[in-house]
C-alpha cells in the first residue's frame, strides 16, 4: 500500500481514509458477520489428516488489496502472453516436440516427468487448447516488478473464494463500492461456461451438455465444485454418475441416459479413468479416456497438462515464452536454482539460511523450507533431505513480497500477500480483473497457503 518514500500509493488513497475512519467496534462486528456468513453458507475447505476440524473457514480479511487500471493492464498482458506460450508448449510436447529438438529443454526433463502422459501424444484437443483453466501465482516485489511464483494448470482452485470475498465486501461495506468503480468479478462463472461451450467437440449437436466432475463431498475443494456447477447451471457429477457406452459418454439421469459433451473435471489425471491410468481409482469413469481420444468428449483441462506447471519446467518458462511467441517475457520468473545441477546445488547448500527451498513436485506449502524463518536444526534437517535427493528440489531467493494492511489481533498491520489471477482459454483468453489475494496472517510469514494458516482478501482492480 505504501510507496518506498512512505506515502500512500494512489490506488489506496480512498481506502486509506476509510480505514482510518473505522472504529475497532465496526471492524470487529464486520469480522463476526463475515465469519457467520461463510459458516452458514458452508464456504469451507477440508484439511486432510485433521479429523476434528475437517471443515474449516479460510480467514477473510476485510481490507481489500487494490490495483490501478494501468497496473492491471500491464499485469494481464504478461499473463496472457504466458498462457498462450503454455498452451503452445503443451501442444508441441505432445506432437513434434520442436522445443526439445531445438535443444532448449533437455529431453530428460520431459521424458522422466511423471506428469507427462504418453497416451496424449498425437491427440488433438479442440482448438489446440490444453490448459483451459489456469491460476498463476504472482508476487509483487516493488512498485513495478512482478514475479511469477508458480503456474497452476492442473485443477487450480480458489476462484469461489474470490467471488465470495467480493460478495462479503459488498455486503459489509456497500459504501466503499459507491465511492469508486471496482471492476466486477461476478461474471467469472458465465465466462467459464462460455469457455467450456466453445471447446465442445465438433460432434456436438445443439447446445453442448457440460458437467463438472468432482471427487465428492470429502474433497477439500468440494464447496467450490458445487458453487461453480450451480452458478454455471450444469450438473455436478461424481464418477458413478457417468458411464461410457458405444464410444460415447453419458450421465445417469432420472430419465433416459443423456450424452455429455464437455467435462470440467476437478479430479487429477491419475484418477480420471481406471482403464487408462490408476486401476484402483474409483473416482473416475472407466473408458472416458478412449471417448476423449476419439474426439467424442472434451476434457477440461486436458490430461497431461501437469507437465507444464511442474517446478522443474518452471525454470525454463522464460525460454518457452521466447520460443513460442518470439517475444520478450513480460512477467519475470523468480530466479531459481535447480539442485539437480551441481553448481546450483553447491550454491544452495551454502546459502540455505537465505533461500526458500521447495520440492519439485510438491504443492500447498507442504515440504518446503523458508530459510530466514527457520531454526538451525530445521535447516540442517532439510540439508540432509536435499543432499539425499538433489533432483527433488529447487531453491529461490527469499523475496521482499509486497505487504498490505491487514486486520490482526493487534490492529491493522502489514502482512505479506500473493495473487492468483484466473485465466480461461477457449475461443479467446479471458482474465478476471483481480483474482484471489492470499495473505500470510502470521507476522513476517511468507507462506500464504490456506493449509498453512493463510487467509484471503478481496482484490480490486479500479476502473479509470
Amino acid at each position: 500500500m505504501f510507496a518506498p518514500n512512505g506515502s500512500v500509493r494512489a490506488p489506496y488513497a480512498r481506502v486509506e481514509k476509510w480505514l482510518e475512519s473505522l472504529g475497532s467496534e465496526v471492524i470487529e462486528r464486520a469480522l463476526r458477520e463475515s465469519e457467520a456468513r461463510f459458516r452458514r453458507q458452508g464456504i469451507t475447505f477440508a484439511v486432510y489428516g485433521d479429523d476434528k476440524a475437517s471443515e474449516r473457514l479460510i480467514p477473510f480479511d476485510i481490507v481489500p488489496r487494490i490495483f490501478s487500471a494501468t497496473e492491471w493492464r500491464r499485469l494481464s498482458a504478461g499473463i496472457e502472453q504466458r498462457v498462450r506460450a503454455m498452451n503452445a508448449f503443451l501442444h508441441d510436447l505432445y506432437h513434434r516436440q520442436e522445443i526439445l529438438r531445438a535443444g532448449r529443454i533437455p529431453y530428460d526433463v520431459i521424458v522422466q516427468n511423471e506428469a507427462f502422459v504418453p497416451e496424449m501424444v498425437g491427440v488433438n484437443p479442440v482448438k489446440g487448447i490444453y490448459a483451459h483453466v489456469m491460476g498463476i501465482d504472482i508476487v509483487r516485489v516493488n512498485e513495478n516488478e512482478f514475479y511469477v511464483l508458480e503456474d497452476n494448470c492442473r485443477t487450480p482452485s480458489g476462484v469461489s473464494y474470490m467471488l465470495e470475498d467480493r460478495e462479503a465486501m459488498m455486503f459489509l461495506f456497500p459504501e466503499l463500492f459507491a465511492q469508486q468503480r471496482v471492476a466486477p468479478v461476478e461474471n467469472y462463472p458465465a465466462m467459464l461456461r462460455k469457455t467450456l461451450d466453445s471447446v465442445a467437440p465438433s460432434t456436438t449437436k445443439n447446445e453442448p451438455t457440460v458437467v463438472l466432475l468432482t471427487p465428492g463431498i470429502h474433497n477439500s475443494a468440494f464447496f467450490e465444485h458445487a458453487f461453480l456447477a450451480d452458478e454455471m447451471g450444469v450438473e455436478l457429477c461424481e464418477g458413478d454418475d457417468l458411464f461410457v457406452s458405444d464410444g460415447w459418454l453419458y450421465m445417469r439421469t432420472t430419465q433416459k441416459p443423456r450424452r455429455v459433451d464437455v467435462v470440467y473435471r476437478r479430479i487429477d489425471d491419475a484418477y480420471l479413468d481406471p482403464l487408462a491410468f490408476r486401476p484402483d481409482s474409483n473416482l473416475g469413469v472407466p473408458g472416458i479416456f478412449d471417448v476423449y481420444r476419439a474426439g467424442h468428449v472434451t476434457l477440461v483441462n486436458a490430461p497431461g497438462t501437469g507437465v507444464a506447471d511442474d517446478k522443474s519446467i518452471y525454470t525454463y518458462m522464460p525460454e518457452i515464452i521466447r520460443f513460442y511467441t518470439g517475444e520478450k517475457p513480460l512477467l519475470n520468473n523468480v530466479p531459481t536454482w535447480r539442485c539437480s545441477s551441481e553448481n546450483d546445488l553447491k550454491y544452495v547448500l551454502e546459502h540455505l539460511a537465505e533461500l526458500v527451498v521447495k520440492e519439485v513436485h510438491g504443492s500447498g506449502g507442504y515440504g518446503m523450507l523458508v530459510g530466514p524463518t527457520s531454526s538451525k536444526a530445521e535447516i540442517e534437517q532439510f540439508r540432509a533431505k536435499v543432499m539425499a535427493r538433489p533432483t527433488n528440489y529447487i531453491a529461490q531467493p527469499t523475496l521482499a513480497l509486497s505487504a498490505v494492511p491487514t486486520f490482526t489481533n493487534s490492529g491493522i498491520a502489514a502482512r505479506h500477500v500473493d495473487l492468483r489471477p484466473f485465466v480461461l482459454s477457449g475461443d479467446q483468453i479471458r482474465i478476471t480483473p483481480g483474482g484471489l489475494t492470499r495473505v500470510a496472517l502470521k507476522e513476517g510469514s511468507l507462506v500464504v497457503n490456506s493449509s498453512q494458516g493463510g487467509g484471503t482478501k478481496d482484490t480490486w482492480v479500479l476502473e479509470d
Binding site: 459458516r39 452458514r40 453458507q41 458452508g42 465428492g216 463431498i217 468440494f222 458445487a226 458453487f227 456447477a229 450451480d230 450438473e235 455436478l236 457429477c237 461424481e238 458413478d240 454418475d241 450421465m251 445417469r252 439421469t253 432420472t254 430419465q255
Partner: protein, 315 residues
Amino acid sequence: MLGRTASSLYWMSRYVERAENMARLLEVGYRISLMPGAIEGHRDEWRSTLTSAACEQSYTEKHGDIDGAKVIHFLLFDESNSSSVKSCLKTARNNGRGVRTALTRDVWESLNSTWNELAHIQPENITSDRLPEFLEWIKQHAMGFRGALLGTMLRTDNYYFSQLGNFIERADNTARILDVKYFILLPRASDVGSDLDMQQWAQILRSVSAHRAYRWFYKDSRYKPWLVSEFLILKEQMPRSLLFTYNWINLALDGLGELYGNRYACHELARETHRRLKNGDMEEIFQEGLHEFLQEFMAANNRLSQSIATTYNFP
C-alpha cells in the same frame, strides 16, 4: 436430473423427518419416565421407545441393559447408531451438501446451520432437565427446514423427490408407532379402560403430536383405541396419518409422471396403497387384525421406496 441427485434429495428429507420423529418419541419416553411409579408399566417405556425407533437390537448389542440416560444418549448422539438424531442430521446434511446445486439457498442454510449448531452442543450438557429444551430445538429446526423447502423450492423434480422421502419416512414412522404401542404393549383385558390404558393411548397420540388434535376432531376427551387408530390411519385431515402421507406421495408421483411424461410400476404401487386407505374401514381392519394390517402396510411402503429407487436410477 442425475439419479444421484434424486436419491440425495430423497434421503436428505427422509433423514430430517426421521430426526424429528426421534425427538417426538423421546419426548414421550421422557414424559412417562417422570410419572410417579404407581403407574405400572412405565419402566418399560424406554424399551418401548427403542422398539418404536427400531433401535432396540442395536442398543442391546451395545449396552445390554436398558438405562434411561444411555437410551437417551444412544438415540440422540451416538454416531454408531445410524438413526440417532446426530447421525440423521449428519446424513441429511451430507446428502444436501452433495446436491447443493439442486437446493435453494434457504433450504441449504437451514440444513447447514442446524448441523453447525449441533456440532457445538456437548452431549454431557444435555442433562435430563435440559432434555425437553433440546428436543424442542430439534423439532424447531426440522420444521424450519421443511418450511424453507415448502416456501422456496420450485415445484419440479427436485421438490417431488424430497417430498417422497419426507412422506415415505413419516408413513413408516406412524405405522410403526401404532404397531409397537398397540400390539406389543397391548394392555391386559382387565386394564382396558383403566388409567394405564388411557396413558398408553395418550402416548401414541403425543408421539405424533396429535393428542389435542384428537380432542378437537372427535370432540371427546376420552381416548378410544378404535378412534385413535382411525385417526392415525384413515383420517386425511390428520397430517401424520397414513392416508394423509399417501395423498402427498401420490401428488409427488403424479408431478413426476407429468413432468417426465411417463408413469411406472411405482405409480401403481402408490395408487394401490392409497386406494386401500381411502376405502378403508376401521371395523374390517380390526377384524383382520390391526397388527397384520400395519405390517402389510409397512412392507408395501418399503416396496414403494425400492421401486422409486429403481425407476429413477438411484445409485
